[in-house]
């Protein structure tokens, strides 16, 4: 076992397999969280039927999608119709290869990590375009035209914001970016006397547009285009597009967390006095609180089976809380915890926008992209460059 793990190829392969197997489940629960949060914002309950408070809904949805009939339109381009969802999912999951999940959990730390993620996201755009074109339907074609125009436009401010962060960190490696933030003792977002906040905000806006999320979800605006580029897709192929969309959200959020919010570092990584409260007490208390919430459900649910599920969840979260109190387990998991926590905040924000902002009109979308975001991002790049050259010690 020890010998096997010492082989340089084995741990990355194991981690890759784990990511590919676990990510669909995580995506399912992000969808559930999205439905629950949106329901809460709109004063509804959201899914409540499958399992207590709907906690088993993702499993039911996955089963339904797998069993659905796989329709291929007779007038479609079969090859491209088949290729498009595969391309989208493949590239979105490939980008996980360079994400620094923690100081010890990462598949690869290559010197072009950030370029690799941008490259994968730009190939992923092809999946959307080809998928919409191959279906031979007007709604799909309109959806993919919008997707292509939008992704090309917003790649520019996203690129400028990323370049500013790279300039600040001085490396293209994802772990290197985090190491430089540890060394400078400040998160990327607050570096250069707070001027890095400009690219941070621009990155979040352009990232939302790049992943085609509301308020920039014009490629799939249901009030105008039915479902946009994936109108003609159903069943498992549609599920692949869905998976790719959520994978892209997680990848963009991870990139944002890594470049601007310290990745797997805890807040204030250089203040030794905060080691205990932030690295042990906070995660343990957080999971204990979640367990407490679940334990209330044990008494409120009417069905015996639902009570059992809630009891099991209570036990699970208590176990996680206890694990964070153990030094050995804590040391293993703490990087993963902080990365996951920051990621969860980012994903929550993505859901929050969707519930809050109305969708842009197409001309407004192009105005915001070309007339506001790109000039501001260029200005931010030059400003940060000047400050870094003259004022930074």
């Amino acid at each position: 076992m020890e010998q096997l793990l010492a082989n340089p190829y084995v741990p990355p392969l194991i981690l890759t397999a784990v990511i590919i197997l676990v990510f669909p489940l995580i995506a399912g629960y992000i969808v559930l969280a999205e439905r629950k949060v949106l329901a809460d914002l709109q004063v509804r309950l959201g899914p409540m039927r499958v399992g207590p408070y709907g906690v088993l809904q993702p499993l039911a949805d996955a089963l339904k999608l797998m069993l659905k009939e796989d329709v291929i339109p007779s007038q479609s381009d079969k090859w491209i119709f088949w290729l498009a969802p595969v391309l989208s999912t493949f590239t979105a999951l490939s980008a996980f290869a360079v994400l620094p999940l923690s100081d010890r959990f990462f598949v690869a730390d290559v010197n072009i990590g950030i370029l690799f993620i941008l490259a994968m996201s730009s190939i992923g755009a092809l999946g959307l375009i080809l998928g919409g074109w191959s279906a031979n339907s007007k709604y799909s074609l309109m959806g993919s035209l919008r997707a292509a125009a939008q992704m090309v436009s917003y790649e520019v401010p996203l690129g400028f914001a990323t370049v500013t962060a790279i300039m600040c960190a001085g490396t293209l490696s994802m772990q290197g970016v985090i190491a430089s933030q540890l060394e400078r003792g400040v998160w990327g977002a607050f570096d250069n006397y707070g001027l890095m906040l400009i690219p941070t905000v621009l990155f979040i806006i352009a990232g939302t547009a790049e992943t085609n999320r509301a308020p920039f979800d014009l490629p799939e605006a249901e009030s105008e285009l039915v479902a946009g580029f994936h109108t003609e897709y159903s069943g498992f192929r549609w599920a692949l597009f869905f998976l790719a969309e959520y994978a892209a959200i997680v990848v963009i959020s991870s990139l944002c967390v890594t470049l601007f919010f310290g990745g797997w570092l805890r807040p204030f990584p250089n203040v030794a006095a905060l080691e205990m409260p932030l690295n042990t007490a906070f995660p343990a208390a957080l999971f204990a609180l979640i367990a407490l919430g679940c334990s209330k459900g044990v008494f409120r649910q009417a069905l015996a089976g639902f009570r059992l599920v809630m009891a099991a969840l209570t036990g699970l979260f208590l176990l996680v809380a206890a694990a964070f109190a153990l030094p050995a387990a804590n040391e293993l998991m703490i990087g993963l915890f902080w990365f996951g926590f920051k990621l969860a905040v980012m994903v929550y924000m993505f859901i929050w926008y969707r519930g809050t902002f109305p969708r842009f009109r197409y001309d407004q979308l192009m105005d915001v992209g070309w007339k506001w975001l790109i000039p501001i991002s260029m200005f931010g790049l030059i400003l940060n460059g000047v400050v870094q050259l003259f004022a930074r010690g």
């Binding site: 010197n111 941008l118 490259a119 730009s122 092809l126 080809l130 292509a148 125009a149 293209l172």
Partner: protein, 177 residues
């Protein structure tokens, strides 16, 4: 054979096969997809030679930028009309002469070795050993030794952009009047 050699032949076959498919497909979108596959193969070859920065830029610029725009335009063309039209232009003989000349030139270099391309003052080639500072090395050479060609290229691109804007502007004024 080492793993590198095997990978080289696999990628070379991918590039050449995709390139042949690109020019033989009647459906333009299929041709574009095969061209993307060829470009991915070239990025793989760059990666194999340790030019990781070039590989990343190849994918971002050619596939993420140029091919997306290609597809954007192709999608607006009715494919069925295109595929019934004549595939080869009238300039068959000049094209053949040019292709044969290019092949002979490349073959000549391949036989004599790449060292014949050396000229005094050329930057040192980056071997696979210098993997860790690849991006930095490319940036340094580009902004010191090759600064003038680099700036000339950017002026050329600027001219092209202005030209494109001027052309699209005049056309819209004609349609208005």
């Amino acid at each position: 054979m080492s793993l590198d050699t095997v990978l080289f032949y696999v990628l070379a076959a991918l590039v050449l096969g995709s390139a042949v498919m690109t020019i033989t497909r009647r459906n333009v979108v299929h041709a574009a997809v095969w061209l993307i596959s060829a470009l991915v193969g070239v990025a793989g070859l760059f990666l194999l030679r340790g030019a990781e920065f070039l590989a990343g830029v190849q994918v971002i610029v050619y596939i993420g930028g140029i091919m997306v725009l290609f597809l954007f335009v192709i999608m607006l063309v009715p494919v069925h009309e295109e595929s019934t039209q004549r595939r080869f232009s009238n300039q068959k003989w000049p094209a053949t002469v040019a292709a044969v000349a290019l092949f002979l030139w490349v073959a000549f270099i391949a036989v004599n070795g790449v060292s014949m391309l050396d000229h005094p003052g050329m930057a040192e080639p980056l071997g696979p050993g210098s993997l860790s500072e690849n991006s930095e090395a490319v940036g340094l050479v580009l902004f010191s030794q090759y600064l003038l060609p680099f700036e000339l290229a950017s002026i050329l691109l600027l001219v092209a952009i202005i030209g494109a804007i001027v052309m699209s502007k005049t056309r819209s004024r004609e349609t208005e009047s």
